[in-house]
């Protein structure tokens, strides 16, 4: 009786338990795929569950008739009427990492995914889109690969000069050899110097020799160069590095040869400042835009009327193509804040007026850290970074730290900076502090005289009263005595400056939850992931075929025949499984280098090298598994064939092999899976992009991956998919093969 009662409950209970177990077991895999479809911003902020989350406001602006406009990083625009707590209009641009700039009745939105969009605020619609594809094609008309031929009218004197420098002057300064002596090339004095330079670029040994000489040159002006030296470089990096060094060592006209890189836009990049995209209106109705990564050429200047695109790039003297902020100073002057320093740009001539690198002229060395800027006039700007504010004057090229006592006790950095005619406003996680500009700037003078007027600082807005902003303020807009804030969790508010009263506040409705395929596209565009995938496939397939061929022969011999040394051979096969792989790897690596040295046969970083090693490595195990399959094939089949006049080889080929074929395929796929999963040997024997397998490739680009969990998870998913497919194709046979040895003895 008790038994019956037990079983009635046992069944469903255990079944539930089983399915729970299954769910728990599959969860990490689902999580991996889930995160690969998400933006890194969301992942880093913990917004990984599709539950109500409001998107942060990164842009606020006033609309005509005191309405308010709020934009999120995901390209969602909300318009509020006066005093309305619900948004009256909503526009979804459907993009990621979006920055905004206002130009009269137009709003310009630049996103890493969709390019530049013009939003007509009066009609509340997207007026026009300039996609990255178009921008790229425009750019490529201005660019050539490698070193480009000097344009018509290029001074021949400059060619003489550069060839003389390369042939005779030490490389680097103070060394004993010139580049010509190091590389054994001679640099002609005419246009063909470009060919020579390109030959140098294309030859990895020559290039490495040239770079080696520069390795510890202490006095690089450009901070990117030591960084490029220190990181693990790919061939592409080396080419770029060489060009950088050349321009740096022999400045002047040689920089005209610089190639401007273009990599496909890498979306969802999260630099210190949230977006990675910046757009600004820059006089004459033109719009300039830039991205915060090295692979982008620099600053694009769009004239929407004529639909033409101009470029300000390294060739025009921009110190770095990775731009954090663009700020229009007046009708023709543009300020670009890059990861190397500050640049003043003349928009009309598209040229760089002046460059200041971080670390110079009183500026702090800010290697790509988060900076906020605001312009006081066309010469003076305020720079805010972490908890410090600096006044920089382009006319004197001097920066001075401003005292910021109101941030005492505030834990967060300055997240927004805005200046109007009389006040400066600093946004933090604990509200916005305002300070009278005149007094603040005067305090710097007084500080030099030993008097510090700290008491002039008042902080106007406290956010902790619960009514207004109690989250990080991302954007401040001051207009006609009113202040608009926008920030974390979609909070927006307006304040009256004179009475310091909250006029109005609202919170954005729940934004869309952003799932997209973009990470998979980016994976292909930003790193040579396709090549890694191909390498993995070629290597694993070859290993599979070779080891199946060899193992099928041996295991058949082991299963069917007696021969002297059979026990020893059997034992040796088992024993190989006990030896740590690294004990083989060290000698194999050394032998490979020796082979390269003595016989000049390239072994490391080649397909045949790694295939040879893998095959040898997986053959013993395949023999062991295949032996089980061969033993299970009835011997009588073969004997019958032999009686019918078949040769032993014929019997093997016609009878036994076809019978064992499912087993061979299953074992082959198992070998494929193991080879796909191998990391240690590949890490040593395939270290450049031409042979690297997926895990090694991921490791090679670890600097670029950094905290890009979205890309990492996309890479992980792509790496998992083929093996999963293959496994389920042959699941039953593989399981039989693996368990055969254990269960049947």
């Amino acid at each position: 009786m008790s038994r019956a009662g037990k079983s009635r409950w046992n069944g469903p209970l255990l079944t539930t338990l089983t399915w729970g177990f299954v769910a728990l077991n599959c969860f990490p895999i689902l999580w991996m795929v889930w995160c690969s479809l998400m933006g890194n911003n969301e992942i880093l902020q913990g917004k990984t569950m599709p539950d109500p989350q409001r998107n942060d406001v990164f842009y606020v602006d006033s609309l005509p008739k005191t309405g308010l406009l709020a934009g999120t990083i995901n390209g969602e625009l909300y318009a509020y009427g006066q005093g309305a707590s619900k948004n009256v209009r909503y526009l979804n641009l459907g993009e990621v990492s979006t920055s905004y700039a206002r130009q009269g009745n137009n709003l310009w939105a630049l996103s890493a995914s969709g390019g530049l969009q013009q939003v007509d605020l009066a009609h509340w619609r997207i007026a026009k889109t300039w996609g990255w594809h178009w921008i790229r094609s425009q750019f490529q008309q201005t660019d050539k690969t490698n070193f480009i031929l000097p344009p018509e009218g290029f001074r021949t004197q400059a060619l003489h000069q550069i060839s003389g420098q390369l042939n005779n002057e030490p490389w680097p300064a103070g060394a004993s050899k010139s580049l010509a002596e190091i590389t054994g090339l001679s640099f002609p004095q005419d246009q063909s110097i470009v060919d020579t330079l390109n030959r140098l670029l294309a030859d990895s040994t020559l290039r490495d020799k040239s770079l080696q000489a520069l390795r510890n040159k202490p006095s690089w002006l450009n901070p990117v160069i030591p960084w490029l030296f220190s990181k693990e470089r790919t061939s592409r990096d080396s080419r770029e590095l060489f060009r950088w060094c050349l321009a740096e060592l022999f400045p002047g006209d040689v920089s005209r040869f610089l190639q401007i890189p273009w990599n496909d836009v890498w979306v969802n990049r999260v630099p210190g400042s949230g977006h990675g995209t910046s757009v600004s209106e820059c006089g004459d109705g033109k719009i300039c835009f830039a991205l915060w990564w090295d692979e982008f050429p620099g600053i694009g200047v769009l004239d929407p009327q004529t639909n033409t695109l101009g470029w300000i790039t390294a060739r025009k003297g921009l110190s770095s193509s990775s731009v954090q902020h663009l700020l229009s100073l007046n009708e023709h002057l543009l300020l670009a804040v890059t990861d190397a320093g500050l640049s003043l740009i003349d928009i009309q001539t598209l040229s760089v007026v002046s460059n200041v690198l971080y670390g110079e002229c009183g500026l702090k060395y800010l290697d790509g850290r988060d900076v906020r800027v605001a312009a006081l006039d066309s010469n003076k700007i305020l720079l805010a970074y972490s908890q410090e504010v600096m006044l920089f004057d382009f006319s004197t090229r001097q920066g001075e730290l401003l005292p910021v006592p109101m941030l005492k006790g505030v834990t967060s950095d300055i997240t927004a900076l805005e200046v109007d005619s009389s006040f400066a406003y600093l946004g933090t996680s604990e509200g916005v502090f305002s300070v009278n500009l005149e007094e603040w700037l005067a305090s710097v003078q007084d500080q030099e005289n030993g008097i510090l007027h700290q008491k002039h600082y008042t902080h106007v807005f406290e956010s902790s009263d619960g009514a207004g902003i109690d989250a990080v303020v991302h954007d401040i807009q001051s207009q006609d005595g009113a202040l608009h804030f926008g920030g974390l969790l979609g909070l927006v508010s307006s304040w009256d400056v004179s009475s310091q009263k909250l006029l109005w506040h609202a919170q954005l409705p729940e934004g869309r939850f952003n799932l997209h395929w973009r990470n998979y596209e980016d994976l292909w565009k930003t790193i040579p992931f396709g090549r890694f995938l191909r390498n993995s496939f070629v290597i694993c397939l070859s290993v599979m075929l070779i080891s199946m061929f060899v193992a099928a022969l041996s295991s058949y011999a082991l299963a069917r025949f007696q021969f002297p040394g059979k026990r020893l051979f059997n034992g040796a096969i088992l024993a190989t499984q006990m030896v740590p792989g690294i004990l083989y790897l060290i000698p194999i690596f050394i032998v490979f280098t020796a082979v390269q040295q003595y016989f000049s046969i390239q072994m490391v970083n080649t397909w045949h090298g790694i295939i040879l090693v893998y095959s040898a490595f997986f053959i013993p195990m395949s023999i062991w598994i295949l032996r089980g399959f061969f033993i299970n094939i009835p011997r009588e089949l073969e004997e019958a064939a032999l009686i019918d006049g078949c040769s032993p080889l014929g019997a093997f080929l016609r009878i036994t092999l076809p019978a064992a074929f499912p087993g061979i395929v299953a074992t082959g796929i198992y070998v494929f899976l193991l080879a796909w999963d191998e990391l240690m040997f590949a890490w040593v024997l395939c270290t450049d992009t031409s042979t690297a397998t997926i895990p090694v490739g991921i490791r090679l680009y670890v600097g670029q991956f950094g905290n890009r969990f979205d890309l990492l998870m996309a890479a992980a998913s792509v790496a998992t998919l083929p093996v999963m497919f293959l496994f389920f194709l042959m699941q039953r046979h593989i399981v039989t093969g693996l368990t055969g040895g254990a269960v049947k003895g």
Partner: protein
């Protein structure tokens, strides 16, 4: 006579010759070279001299075993301790989960084959992906493990009732545990490894379970044996050969585990730390990042000898089970 052997065994000998060649060229030959290298001072500057690098006798062995101020020795002992703990926990966890899972899906219930297949999922994932994935999941703030345990389930509040102490920052936010630094690291590598390998044990046990004839259980039921008695008296003893294979496989593959640890910390660029380092990553670092091949070869040789001993112990322990079959 010699000719006689050849003509008689020509066929099998020809068949095994490619494998034999591979075995000699890429297993036996490197193994002896590895041993020889462990007696040399082989590093980046002497690698060009190949096997003619300065002979130093047992100096490498002395350094890793006895020189008390050597950093290599200290790192090695840490790695050794971690590897032993790691292997023991992983093998134990794998077996427990494997038997449990096998018993669960050995029953008959709707969707059994789907459940079986889904359970194999974690086994098919490449192990470097396991390292990357769990390295992401273990993150202090962004990681799903801490988010589930503390943001959703509020484990800190629950465990406080049982006297567990948690620290909070100045804003009153819980300081969540760091999984990838300090002593937690060991668990951060053990748990994913069990997750990856238990389905293998399950498959093996399942094969073992289905080879037990049902008459045995019927007879036991007649004799009035309870379910748990049946499990301990019949199932477990009959599964011992499978158990033996899993223990052997588990020991070998986990002592030689490399991928999960090396991909978990900074995607292959980071150092796993004092409590996350295993022998294979340790030897790898000594050999291919410090370019000290002599020391790397010496540790590998010692490790191989130790493993021969371990396997011999295993054989003594499970000899009867293996010969029974």
């Amino acid at each position: 006579m010699k000719r006689d052997v050849w003509s008689r065994y020509k066929f099998p000998l020809l068949f095994i010759s490619p494998a034999l060649l591979g075995l000699i060229l890429l297993h036996l030959f490197p193994m002896f070279q590895g041993f020889w290298l462990s007696l040399l001072e082989s590093n980046k500057s002497t690698i060009e001299q190949y096997l003619h690098a300065p002979f130093v006798g047992l100096a490498n062995y002395r350094e890793i075993l006895f020189s008390s101020d050597s950093q290599i020795r200290q790192g090695l002992w840490d790695a050794l301790r971690n590897t032993v703990l790691y292997t023991v926990f992983v093998v134990f966890g794998t077996i427990v989960l494997g038997i449990g899972g096998a018993l669960l899906v050995h029953r008959n219930f709707p969707g059994r084959s789907v459940a079986r297949t889904l359970m194999l999922f974690s086994w098919i994932i490449p192990s470097y992906v396991v390292g990357m994935l769990w390295g992401f999941m273990w993150q202090q703030e962004e990681g799903i493990v801490n988010q589930l345990l503390f943001d959703r389930m509020h484990l800190d509040i629950i465990t406080t009732w049982f006297g567990v102490h948690w620290d909070y920052d100045t804003l009153g936010q819980l300081i969540k545990p760091r999984w990838l630094t300090g002593e937690n690291t060991l668990w951060a590598i053990i748990i994913p490894t069990i997750w990856r390998f238990w389905p293998f044990a399950m498959v093996m046990f399942l094969a073992g379970l289905s080879s037990i004839p049902s008459e045995v259980y019927e007879a036991a039921e007649m004799d009035g044996a309870s379910k748990s008695e049946q499990f301990f008296q019949i199932t477990l003893p009959l599964l011992r050969p499978v158990l033996a294979m899993i223990v052997l496989q588990g020991i070998i593959s986990n002592v030689y585990s490399f991928n999960i640890v090396s991909m978990m910390f900074g995607n292959g660029a980071g150092f796993p730390g004092k409590y996350g380092d295993l022998l294979m990553p340790n030897i790898f670092r000594n050999s291919f990042q410090m370019w000290n091949f002599g020391v790397g070869a010496a540790i590998s040789t010692l490790l191989m000898l130790v493993m021969v001993g371990v396997v011999a112990l295993w054989y003594r322990r499970f000899r009867e089970d293996l010969s029974n079959e």
